[in-house]
Amino acid sequence: MKNTLKNIFHSPRFVVGFIIFVALLLTMIFYPIFNPGDPLERIGVGTFAKPGTYFSMYDATSAKTETFRLADAEENRINALLTGDARTRMIDWMSRHGDDVAGLDPADTGALMEAWGRYYEDVRLSGMTNADRVYFRRLNNSIVNSATAEELLVMEEDPETGDYAQKGTISLTDYVNTKDVANVKTLPLGTDNFGRDTLRELVSAAGVSLRVGLIAGIVATLIGLSLGLLAGYLGGVADDIIMFITNIFTVIPSFVLLILISYSISQEARGASLVAVVIGFTGWTWTCRSVRSQVISLRNRDHVNLSKLSGHSMVRIVLTDILPYIASYVVMAFILQVSAGILSEAQLSMLGLGPKTTETPTLGLMMNWAMLYSAHTNGSWWAYFPVILTITLISFSLNLMNTGLDQVFNPTLRD
């Protein structure tokens, strides 16, 4: 046993897969300690807030300010104001206006502003709609304002009289340390379509999906193993009956069966664990077939016959004389079942047949919601890409461990 373990950990593939898997597992265990709370809590009112650090503007107005004179502050401000689209439209305006814009780089803010300041006038050029004219007027106003602005006033409304009283001013050179702001929230992966903290939801979902995979794997392996052992060891009628059932379920595509069974359970009753059991129930046939064929080749070996002659019970023979020989195979099959289970859950959820959405997040459900709210077409990569990456990493690590084990237990595959 000790030697086997040593061998396993000498296989580089297994070790890499194992490290990735353990890293994922540790994240699932320890991340909730740093960021506690309900993963389904809706913290944002809007959908798909960008990843980043958010601090309360209200609290920031009353925080202690420092004055910094930063050379590039004004340029940064204008940079943030001018989107790529606005820049190309400005150049387009100037060239229509008949100005020399050759060699003007839209990314060069200084040169662009200089040319704009020199040429712009509030006229409607030929080929432009009135809306275009208004657009450029607004754009010019905001550029001029941000260049000439001095400070903003912060006003407070008196709840009784309705009068406004000046509460303070914010000048262009005021800076606030985020540590002094009472409410700061860092969302490394932004929020999803429900306004949930995506990272917190993702970590929790990965845990649930892994649990789904484990349950599915355990159910599939238990059914496959026990039926395979029975069929292989008993032979005769028992074998015929079991193989009849197995053959039928091998040929009917398991994903189709999965769709049908999941559909027949109503949405309300579909919890994550039930879905996992259903996945396991549709995926046991390959384990059963391979276990059976291996048991058949084992059952007439000398040591098994000796056990039979010594009058050992069937349970004992199976446990001590047969199981150890197929254990490595069963473990490998189990690992693959776990990975397939996670994928099946994700696919089912994409079809709208996954676990009910109000209880727990799963990777498939997150993916399903991101697609329903078109995260992929509106640029909210944080809502779907981390989910795909997590599924890929989990199944990659499991598959690496499996091929590593395969190389250890199957000498013909060794390089």
Partner: protein, 335 residues
């Protein structure tokens, strides 16, 4: 010849038995769902009708038409009888369209997408796998882990990534659908062009998925064969390397051909989710809308088509193997 007769008879018997079980499951499972789709159709049709008796009459007329007022047992035999005559019933959600009509519209899209993609992916994957097995050094250390990683990206994930890169960001392919939404299917040049441009992304995403699996399988198959005793013996005999590679390739191909046939059989269920991502007008999208609208005649029919496809390919493989696999032959003639 007697041996063959027995063998094929057994295989056909199996086919029929499995088909019966599949039909029963296809019929019963969706109908266990506790919902009343007839009520929702009635609600749609009888909108604005205030007379309760009239609504009741409409409900009963539809219940009669869909046969849901009979016992499940009776419904089953009606379903089987109709299915044998090629009538799969009426859709609930797209009433009054028949299920036959919906499937007949969707199936060609799915087949035209999956079949070429699997063939192309299979060829490219096997060439890559064979090359990887032959070159080994260097390749194996870098390319194989990357290939395994890419192979573990779920099909829908790959579809989404391709969609975002090529349709949303680079804008060189349309985002969704099988053809431009403002067109009516016909045989004009603009329509065909639109179909081809919509075809690219779903096609290549399926090709990539197929390449990954085939290449890895072919590589380990070839390595296994390269280490086999007959190769060593051939080297002893001094047979030229080129000739040995030919033998190795032929032996490694056999399981790959089985794999090709099986993936053609399962191609409809394999592409379901990717079709949904691309809103491709195939079976996947039909199944998705059937699931979301509790349309069980449509669900039954879709899953039945997928199952029958797999059953036919399995039977076909069994028959072919009966002729070409010497082990099967021997087993039949010994008995």
């Amino acid at each position: 010849m007697k041996g063959y007769k027995k063998y094929f008879g057994k295989k056909i018997l199996w086919f029929v038995l499995t088909l019966i079980v599949a039909v029963i499951l296809n019929f019963i499972l969706p109908r266990l769902m506790p919902s009343d789709p007839v009520a929702s159709i009635t609600a749609k049709v009888a909108e604005g009708v205030t007379d309760a008796a009239a609504v009741q009459a409409i409900y009963e007329r539809y219940a009669e038409e869909f046969g849901i007022n009979k016992s499940l047992f009776e419904q089953f035999f009606i379903f089987v009888g109709n299915a044998l005559r090629g009538n799969l019933g009426t859709s609930f959600s797209q009433y009054p369209r028949t299920v036959n009509n919906i499937i007949a519209t969707a199936l060609p899209w799915s087949l035209a997408l999956q079949f070429p993609a699997i063939i192309v992916g299979w060829f490219l994957g096997n060439i890559l796998g064979a090359v990887a097995a032959y070159v080994r050094k260097g390749w194996d250390k870098v390319v194989l882990p990357i290939a395994i990683f890419i192979n573990n990206i779920p099909a829908f994930g790959l579809a989404v990534i391709l969609l975002v890169i090529f349709a949303v960001n680079l804008k060189i392919a349309p985002v969704s659908g099988g053809y431009s939404f403002d067109m009516i299917p016909n045989f004009s040049w603009p329509f065909i062009k639109s179909v081809i441009s919509h075809y690219q992304l779903p096609f290549w995403s399926q090709v990539l998925i197929t390449i990954g699996g085939q290449a890895i399988g072919m590589r380990s198959m070839s390595i296994y064969e390269l280490n086999a005793d007959y190769v060593k013996y051939s080297r002893f005999l001094g047979i030229k390397d080129g000739k040995i590679v030919g033998y190795v390739f032929r032996n490694a191909m056999l399981p790959q051909i089985t794999g090709l046939a099986l993936s053609i059989g399962t191609m409809l269920s394999g592409g379901l989710v990717a079709e949904i991502i691309f809103s491709y007008p195939g079976l996947g999208t039909v199944l998705y809308s059937a699931v979301t609208s509790a349309d069980y005649p449509l669900i039954s029919a879709t899953t039945l088509i997928i199952t029958i496809m797999v059953l036919l390919v399995t039977l076909f493989l069994d028959v072919i193997y009966g002729f070409i696999d010497p082990r099967v032959k021997a087993a039949q003639f010994d008995a």
